[in-house]
């Protein structure tokens, strides 16, 4: 299977000089100060451009961008329920395909993109997402991961990192906050053998935009998992939002990579990682953690990184050969 690789052969990159002027998510929304999620969504929408049809699950981004008079969307947009963004996107795509096939509408190259938070993706929306990826709809699913249910007031999700404080994982005598390890959504998406999966962080905005552009360029389903800092929910300063988005990558907790036709590609190799402790510093959600907890997290983060490197190696046998020969 070379679907994605073939579609991306002549991929024209977005660069600072060739930055699209279009803003499908326009200014004037009601996001919190320093919101990394709306920044990520804006960049993603910009990368798709005027062909965007947006499907939005319930969540922060829906509630900050849709109510009048702060309606920020300048493209066809539908708000669905919490669990069904991928299913509604499936319907939009299939319905348009049927009309195109019958000659009722012309194929204008519109791109169906579903947006959802981590709760709407990893918890309640996982079933719908899995179904849509498996059926092979030509759409892109973007998970904006702020690592908890922020819209309802900071409750844990399966994407909340280990140890983090939320209102339903309160630290205390009997608990140290979130007790489970963050669900690995990009790997779950990749396990569906879809043409394109990527992770991105708004701290590398061009990388983020190009990944989204690639996702909508490849035929079939694509999944992009974007790290989305939430100063309100993480208890950090608004101006620290982008710093966290950079540090989470630099400490290897959130590696940036692509999975193109099943081939893992590291897009940001971190040769000299910072400690997770350094990343935790600016965020009060981790403040209660002791040295033992942090050591445990560091150990697992290191192990996960090694596993990812092994996957890169295993899925790029030619590159390994070349390196040996070189």
């Amino acid at each position: 299977m070379n679907i994605a690789a073939k579609a991306l052969e002549n991929f024209e990159k977005i660069t600072a000089k060739k930055m699209p002027a279009i803003e499908p998510v326009s200014k004037g929304h009601r996001a919190c100060q320093g919101c990394g999620e709306v920044l990520a969504m804006r960049l993603a929408a910009k990368a798709v451009g005027e062909s965007l049809i947006a499907v939005s699950a319930t969540g922060c981004m829906e509630i900050i961008s849709s109510p009048y008079p702060q309606t920020a969307w300048e493209c066809p947009w539908i708000h669905v329920a919490f669990e069904n963004a991928a299913a509604v996107a499936s319907g939009v795509e299939a319905g348009r395909k049927a009309l195109i096939r019958k000659g009722r509408i012309k194929d204008d190259g519109a791109k169906v993109v579903a947006f959802a938070g981590d709760g709407g993706t990893a918890d309640i929306g996982l079933q719908a997402l899995s179904g849509a990826l498996e059926r092979g709809h030509d759409f892109t699913y973007i998970c904006l991961d702020n690592e908890a249910y922020m819209n309802t007031g900071i409750q844990r999700s399966s994407s909340t990192p280990y140890g983090a404080m939320t209102t339903t994982s309160p630290p205390g005598k009997k608990s140290k906050g979130q007790v489970t390890w963050k669900k690995n959504m990009p790997m779950i998406a990749a396990a569906h053998n879809v043409p394109y999966v990527a992770t991105a962080s708004p701290a590398w905005h061009l990388d983020l935009m190009n990944k989204v552009k690639k996702a909508v360029t490849v035929p079939g389903p694509a999944y992009v998992h974007i790290f989305a800092p939430c100063p309100t929910g993480w208890r950090c300063a608004p101006e620290a939002a982008l710093q966290t988005a950079r540090q989470v990558v630099e400490c290897r907790m959130f590696p940036l990579y692509e999975v193109i036709d099943g081939r893992f590609v590291l897009t940001k190799d971190i040769k000299k990682p910072i400690l997770v402790e350094e990343y935790f510093k600016a965020q009060r959600r981790f403040r209660h953690l002791g040295p033992e907890d942090i050591a445990y997290i560091q150990k697992r983060v290191d192990a996960d990184w090694e596993r990812l490197l092994a996957l890169v190696k295993a899925t790029n046998p030619d590159a390994a050969e070349e390196a040996k020969e070189g």
Binding site: A81, F82, E83, I124, Y149, T152, G153, T168, S169, K174
Partner: protein
């Protein structure tokens, strides 16, 4: 002092009072999912349950939450979930499973305005018919309707008692205003709280029929691990619990699960009468609207208007005989509710034209003011004269 029962006088909101009521009733398992305006019940449970040796699990959605409490109940623990409109809709299939398998459990619905996502932060009473009829098939259900944080505490205990006694999911049909309102809540001492526990089998395992009618038509319930052979299914089943795809089994099962409610109304129905002795007009109300109605009735009495309040503490089953009889004694009945007409249909059905029935409605997003109810009372008396 018991950690589970915080005896004393508190100032808390309805959602927190619901959580404390559940703990006082012996609930030790909560499975839930964040949703406005019910999130505080889950948040409170996540803090409080570990303190009393219970378990809080945040599930991946409301389907799983409802399913988990059925499992928890069969594990032998009093179990509960809480939600609001969209989540309540997702729970419906598993509520039916709870009815069919006769699983004691409690579902708190802090109602908001719908349909769909609606007004998440604002009040509604639009899920009342869904509470009664939302799951498919033939069944009866019990729903309580608290109108204050104190009643959130009291009625949550009541909900657990009813669900343990009649082995049916019991709904707490609260609403956003009751859930978010902060008021005085008096929590009594543990000894003063009457608790009902599910009746357990005393026969040896080989004689046990898990779905044979016991006292009040309710079978004795063994928990998993008690040593009894348990076969629990959502398929139509016989007294042994085995699926039987026959009409006689469907007849036997449904008649019993409906009958255990219908034949025990005197133990289930609960309504308060305010100024009803000489009332010419009856305002029938539940939840937050009952508080507005109370204000309207008291104000009307000061003006010499003979009006009374029937406050429904239990909304389902509906007090059919009482309302039928009442409709022959009053000049009019009025139902204020934050929807465009749901429980009022019951008044219309039962009055059968014996007296006019009117609705004071609100589409959701705000409460019905006492003034509007008072105006409706005046109007109904004018029409009757």
């Amino acid at each position: 002092m018991s950690k589970a029962v915080l005896t004393g006088t508190h100032f808390m909101n309805g959602d927190e009072a619901c959580c404390e009521g559940a703990l006082a009733a012996g609930c030790r398992f909560f499975a839930g999912y964040p949703i406005t305006p019910a999130t505080e019940v889950a948040e409170c449970m996540s803090r409080r349950l570990p303190q009393v040796g219970g378990v809080f699990i945040q599930m991946e959605d409301e389907i799983a939450s409802m399913a988990a409490i059925l499992g928890g109940s069969w594990g032998g623990v009093k179990s509960m979930t809480s939600t609001s409109g969209p989540g309540f809709s997702l729970m419906m299939e598993n509520i039916g499973l709870g009815v069919c398998t006769e699983t004691p459990c409690v579902v708190c619905n802090v109602q908001r305005a719908g349909p769909s996502t609606g007004l998440p932060t604002l009040v509604g009473q639009g899920d009342m018919m869904q509470a009664r009829w939302g799951s498919h098939g033939v069944y009866e259900i019990i729903a309580v309707a608290p109108s204050s944080p104190q009643e959130m505490f009291d009625f949550t205990i009541k909900a657990f008692n009813l669900s343990e006694r009649f082995r049916v999911p019991v709904m707490i049909m609260a609403d956003e205003v009751v859930g978010h309102m902060n008021e005085r809540v008096v929590i009594p001492s543990p000894e003063a709280i009457h608790l009902v526990e599910r009746a357990k089998p005393s026969v040896p395992p080989e004689q046990y029929l898990p779905y044979q009618a016991g006292p009040e038509g309710v079978p004795f319930m063994a928990n998993y691990g008690d040593g009894y052979h348990m076969h629990v299914t959502g398929l139509t089943h016989d007294e042994r619990g085995y699926p039987v795809m026959e009409v006689w089994a469907q007849e036997q099962m449904t008649q019993r699960i409906v009958g255990k409610i219908k034949n025990n109304l005197e133990h289930i129905l609960d309504y308060d009468l305010v100024c009803m002795d000489d009332a010419e007009v009856a305002v029938v109300a539940y939840g937050i609207s009952a508080r507005s109605a109370r204000g309207a009735v008291l104000a009307a009495r000061e003006q010499g208007i003979k009006v009374g309040l029937v406050k429904l503490n239990v909304a389902w089953p509906f007090p059919e005989d009482f309302i039928r009889d009442l409709s022959g004694r009053v000049k009019a009945m009025i139902m204020p509710e934050i929807n465009l007409g749901q429980m009022v249909l019951e008044l219309e059905r039962l009055s059968q034209g014996r007296c006019p029935v009117s609705l004071v409605s609100h589409p959701g997003g705000g409460i019905i003011t006492p003034g509007r109810i008072l105006a409706a009372v005046r109007e109904s008396l004018k029409e009757a004269a």
